[in-house]
């Protein structure tokens, strides 16, 4: 579906406050804020003495580097896995839950009044 214009005044107060995240430039700001936080956390490693069970734990920034690298590796590996195991949604036929709509009797689809 395409972008839908919504009158912010009609949104719940909390939702209105969160609208900030969709403003242009916000994503960049969030990314930079994250980067700064990561930098500070890296520096924090020098402020206390570590007593890890393993030597690698005592390397400054070990957890950060490990998290960054492994996370990226995970995403890339998952992309590769998708090539192997992705199938059309009706792969198991039309009588599988993946193809069914959830019965309306169990739902209460109500639109927010906007």
């Amino acid at each position: 579906m395409s972008k839908r214009e919504t009158d912010p005044a009609k949104l719940p107060a909390l939702g209105r406050m969160l609208l900030w995240v969709d403003k242009s430039g916000s994503a960049t700001k969030i990314t930079w804020a994250l980067a700064v936080a990561c930098g500070l956390l890296f520096l924090a490693d020098f402020t206390f003495e570590k007593h890890g069970h393993f030597d690698v734990e005592n390397l400054p920034g070990f957890f950060g580097a490990y998290g960054f690298v492994m996370f990226t590796g995970l995403i890339l590996a998952a992309k590769g896995l998708r090539v192997l195991i992705k199938r059309r949604e009706d792969f198991y036929g039309d009588k599988a839950v993946d193809r069914e709509d959830y019965p309306d009797a169990g739902l209460e689809k109500v639109d927010h009044d906007v």
Partner: protein
């Protein structure tokens, strides 16, 4: 008198009493009161107390109350309460009865002091829970439920076979710590492993939980697998192979969860991954490791239920749980979004949230045992949890691209259920002492040390940064409508085709043999017809003269024989 009633029976009595009440608030209230009464009873039971009955020649121990069974009993009551609160709007007797019987069976199994009682409740959870899937009332749900039921019942059948062999070997049916060795113990282990979703035995979980009703999945998520974790902790603590099984369990689901589109199935994979941490704790088997497992199960039931509730609430309003169809819902469902974020932070083990104070016990024990590879794998798996449960669930549902949907905020009872659960997640994270006091053994652990907090924050924030970069560079895989193959492919796709193929070959062989035999039979009949038929030589009418000739030949021969004889 009150404490003489096995806790499970309170739930069963509640299930019967439901029929006396009309659909509506009264029933809803009963569904909430039963777990509260049960929790109150469990709380009041003295540790070490037990309740036995005779059954044929066996003494069955229906209630064995110790610190290990008590913590699982308490969290199961709490989960039943929260699940039923979330399902306040449901007016379906099948689901209401199933929820009570299911929770009751799980609690009964946890307090079972012997293996036969365990078996009865074990099957009870299987039979009661399948109705939460069938209650969706679609053909797909029916077939999924059938697959689920076959696997769950199989687990029970393997259990009772193992128990029989174990009894023959040891002469005891007591449910105590066992050592893997005999066929009996291996069968019991396998049966627990099926329910605990060990690798390759896991796929019933991801197959069935997304097929259940919206509220049914919330209830399903709490009991079956954690009952198996309890059973493993009781029966096989310190079994080394569990460490490796657990490590594999934490790792492989994170790859599948990453590319899965149905968010309830993502959560099922993530559930599988969380069970892995608990299984590692059981495998290590030290007192602190078992504390870690029990506390992680406790925290996990809450945040997993919370996540299933938030996805369920979105599904309740939009009709779908597929990431490709959702997005941008924070505008109109901000409260649900916030609760979802609390669940996401808890499962990702952010400091001040419940996962942090429980999972780090297990990681610390692995490190203390100098299991370097195991520890590295668990730290990696922790980053993996962040990727699918911490980021993917809230991000693609409430943020990401605007789907254009503007659903109304979740109904009040759902918000209440999510709110209480979220509050508990935060409370445990901020002040873990009461939870630690409930654990089976003495706790000697400080979660909030500088190195713990900084290390964990580094891991999570750097991973988040990696996500932000991958998203902005477009490398992160998009959410698309698709199914992904898993081991269920073997019995949903391969097996039917193999059976069809084999059936084809058998049919061809059969037809071949049959037509060959028919042809032979026809030939015989034709031959007989040829000789004995109306036109046949043997059936033709011969002239009288021919008979006279043959008679004279016969007489002549007799004459010659008697002449020379």
């Amino acid at each position: 008198m009150f404490d003489q009633i096995p806790t499970a029976f309170l739930f069963f009595a509640g299930a019967i009493a439901l029929f006396a009440l009309p659909q509506g608030r009264l029933r809803g209230a009963l569904l909430l009161i039963v777990p509260v009464i049960a929790a109150w009873q469990v709380w009041g039971l003295e540790l070490g107390s037990s309740h036995t009955v005779s059954f044929f020649n066996f003494e069955l121990e229906l209630m064995r109350v110790d610190k290990l069974s008590r913590i699982f009993g308490v969290i199961f009551c709490l989960a039943a309460f929260l699940g039923n609160l979330f399902a306040w709007h449901v007016r379906d007797t099948v689901q209401q009865v199933a929820a009570l019987l299911y929770a009751g069976s799980a609690i009964g199994a946890v307090f079972a002091g012997d293996l036969i009682t365990l078996f009865f409740y074990w099957e009870g959870t299987a039979i009661a829970s399948v109705f939460l899937i069938w209650a969706r009332r679609t053909e797909g749900a029916f077939h999924t439920g059938m697959r689920y039921l076959i696997i769950q019942i199989a687990s029970g059948v393997i259990l009772i076979a193992g128990v029989a062999l174990y009894y023959r070997d040891t002469g005891s049916i007591a449910f105590e710590n066992m050592t893997l060795g005999s066929l009996g113990t291996w069968l019991i282990f396998l049966s627990f492993g099926i329910k605990a979703a060990f690798p390759l035995l896991h796929n019933w979980l991801q197959d069935s939980y997304p097929a259940a009703t919206i509220t049914g999945t919330v209830i399903l998520s709490a009991f079956t697998t954690k009952l198996a974790i309890y059973a493993l902790a009781r029966g096989f603590a310190g079994t080394e192979i569990l460490i490796y099984i657990g490590v594999v369990m934490t790792l492989f689901p994170i790859f599948f969860a990453e590319i899965e589109n149905d968010l309830r199935r993502v959560l099922a994979y993530s559930l599988n991954n969380q069970l892995g941490f608990m299984v590692v704790g059981i495998g290590i088997g030290s007192e602190m490791a078992l504390n870690g497992t029990a506390s992680h199960a406790f925290a996990h039931i809450l945040y997993k239920a919370l996540l299933f509730m938030s996805v369920g609430a979105v599904m309740f309003r939009t009709g779908t749980s597929k990431a490709s169809e959702l997005g941008g819902l924070y505008r109109t469902m901000p409260k649900t979004a916030m609760f979802c974020l609390v669940g996401a932070a808890s499962i990702s083990a952010f400091p001040l949230f419940s996962g942090f104070v429980t999972k780090s016990i297990i990681l610390d024990e692995a490190a203390a045992g100098h299991m370097y590879i195991v520890w590295l794998a668990l730290v990696f798996a922790s980053a993996g949890v962040l990727s699918h449960s911490g980021i993917k669930i809230p991000f693609f549902m409430f943020f990401a691209h605007d789907s254009g949907m503007r659903p109304k905020e979740a109904p009040t009872h759902m918000l209440l259920a999510m709110g209480i659960t979220a509050a508990l997640c935060i409370a445990i994270g901020v002040y873990p002492a009461p939870l630690y006091a409930l654990l089976p053994y003495e706790v000697d652990f400080t979660p909030y040390t500088t190195s713990h907090v900084v290390g964990q924050l580094q891991l999570l924030l750097f991973a988040l940064l990696a996500f932000a970069i991958l998203m902005r560079t477009g490398i992160h895989p998009p959410e698309v409508r698709a199914v992904n193959l898993d081991t269920d492919w073997s019995y949903r796709w391969l097996l039917p085709r193999m059976i069809r193929k084999i059936a084809g070959v058998v049919a061809a062989l059969w037809n071949g043999i049959l037509s060959f035999l028919t042809q032979r039979l026809k030939n015989i009949i034709a031959g007989l017809y040829h000789s004995h038929g109306p036109e046949g030589r043997m059936a033709s009418t011969w002239p009288t003269g021919a008979m006279v000739i043959w008679l004279s030949v016969l007489l002549g021969a007799t004459l010659i024989v008697s002449f020379f004889g």
